[in-house]
Subunit: 327 residues, 2 copies
């Protein structure tokens, strides 16, 4: 049975759900499958779930696994991309998990593994907001804040694939406590988690806000991007103030990245950027421009919302697999 | 007359003085010449001075300019290294100065120009504290704070040679005012200039310190590295406290760079590191380790003082010229 058009399955392995896309050589999405990530399962069972969602995507595309060139996974945490090992993924409770080799055993095709933020930026660089630029910084804002860098057209990996933790750069020494245990990280000031903390604190302090009511109505335990969007539509002042403060911190974070790394483009990805688009990125851009060291960078450096939405990671995993395997 | 052993003249163009080294193919320093940088001169006259100090180094090495392969200059500010143009050097009051072409006209040999911090790190990477590492971050602490990055064994230049401005990354939002006009930059918290400001403020507030007396005695208008060293030797408490605060901020800055860029080594260069060595770098390293995101980076990432002292820039300029010109 011949390979069909170099089909690759890209998997975006998230902390709450995983998504598999079957993609052909021209980057057409042939099929999409999604399933919950059950973090209570032991790693080997969760890896069986990844194999299963990848297989389902192949079936939905009316193909068989042997017609597929590779399966490529974007996984959270610190990754040894040469050996497909997840060193540490706090989101999944994983340590030193041989994701690549085990998936390969399940599926019988080559498997590529890299960090979820890295593949997200590779996706935006190949097919979205970063297209055509050789130096692109990516900042992905969600429950946390992740970063990645394209340098000279290629993913910057650092000395052992751990680069990009821009969310854990300190921008306010002795600032609020971060999930990593340090204080003042960008993630503790401007992630969705930080915004939810600030909204709850404002409500606790007696300010009026529709956020908790919206969460109850939509049966969400967390302040998701859609809750933020809905609250802003109702002109919720607490939400607006909290968002503006986060945007200012993100603007300074973007300027730090531009002053340090001299990219020609910055892509703001993740759920909030996907939901709010220019309403999210506009104020970030404005602050970033104020903090640029080289004034002409304001003409030169484009700051754009991601264009691929939820598909950035899985599509980027496909593109990266093609590069790695020389397809 | 034959070229002699691929001799190159490296020039470190500083805001107060410039230094030229004649260096042979085995990186032996054949001659050293130094002269003051007169910032009141117009650019073309200052460039004539650079040509003159380079010529003197060649004469001291008992050579003639036609025996020299190239002259290579590390200049402050933002540089177009492809065309040898200094876009902007606030230290010199320069804007869009054709340093490379004009020097070439004076000297009749190929001229290479790059940023002073870039060539400093190239020097430490080739011949000093960065030797043997493929990913090296350099942080140079002096009147300002400069940065540079070696990635995959090569100088990271960014999209137009402007990368490395780690001194103007904000680490304390709304913190003290920086020379660049923004607030909370690392340079406004931990440069020699920031330390002098804090020492003067402490004295103003009535604290006892020997620093101003030492400056008067040594006829220095600024708190130089040697003044800092002398004050610490006299156990000056104001100096010690101010230095410790700067070291803590530098440790956080180092951790930001490691978390973002994943280097295997960090070189702390510049005058204070040269003067104080491990007494300067030790406390920086301790704080950086506390702020590392990946705990095993504390075993993996070496943080070292620069080894080449004042010669890092000129030697690095020589090494870079050899790479650029394929010598």
């Amino acid at each position: 049975m011949p390979k069909r058009d170099g089909v690759i399955v890209g998997v975006d392995l998230g902390g709450t759900s995983m998504k598999a896309l079957a993609v052909d050589a021209r980057n057409n999405i042939l099929a999409v499958e999604k399933t919950a990530t059950d973090r209570n399962k032991k790693p080997s069972d969760l890896i069986a779930d990844i194999a299963s969602v990848a297989r389902k995507a192949v079936e939905s595309a009316k193909l068989e696994m042997k017609q597929v060139e590779a399966v490529s996974v974007g996984a959270p945490g610190s990754i040894d991309h040469n050996n497909g090992i997840v060193h540490e993924a706090p989101n999944l409770g994983w340590k030193e998990i041989k994701l690549g080799p085990e998936l390969k055993r399940h599926l019988g095709v080559p498997v590529v593994v890299d960090n979820d933020v890295n593949v997200g930026l590779v996706g935006e660089h190949a097919l979205g907001a970063g297209a055509g630029a050789a130096f692109v910084a990516g900042i992905f804002v969600g429950t946390g804040i992740g970063g990645a860098l394209i340098a000279g057209g290629k993913l910057y990996q650092g000395s052992r694939g751990g680069a990009g933790e821009i969310g854990h750069t300190v921008i306010l020494v002795d600032g609020p406590l971060c999930s990593c245990g340090h204080r003042g990280c960008a993630e503790a000031l401007a992630s969705r988690t930080a915004m939810e903390r600030d909204v709850r604190a404002a409500i606790q302090a007696g300010q009026q806000s529709v956020v908790l009511k919206l969460m109850a109505k939509k049966e969400k335990s967390r302040m998701t991007s859609s809750i933020i969007h809905a609250a802003l539509k109702q002109d919720d002042e607490v939400m607006r103030n909290v968002l503006e403060r986060a945007q200012r911190h993100l603007g300074i974070l973007v300027a730090n990245a531009v002053n340090l790394l001299d990219p020609e483009r910055v892509v703001i990805g993740g759920g909030i950027a996907g939901r709010l688009g220019e309403d999210f990125v506009g104020p970030i851009r404005k602050t970033a421009y104020e903090y640029f060291l080289r004034p002409d960078d304001a003409r030169r450096v484009k700051i754009l919302p991601g264009q691929l939405g939820d598909n950035a990671g899985a599509l980027g995993a496909v593109v990266l697999a093609r590069q790695r395997l020389g397809l």
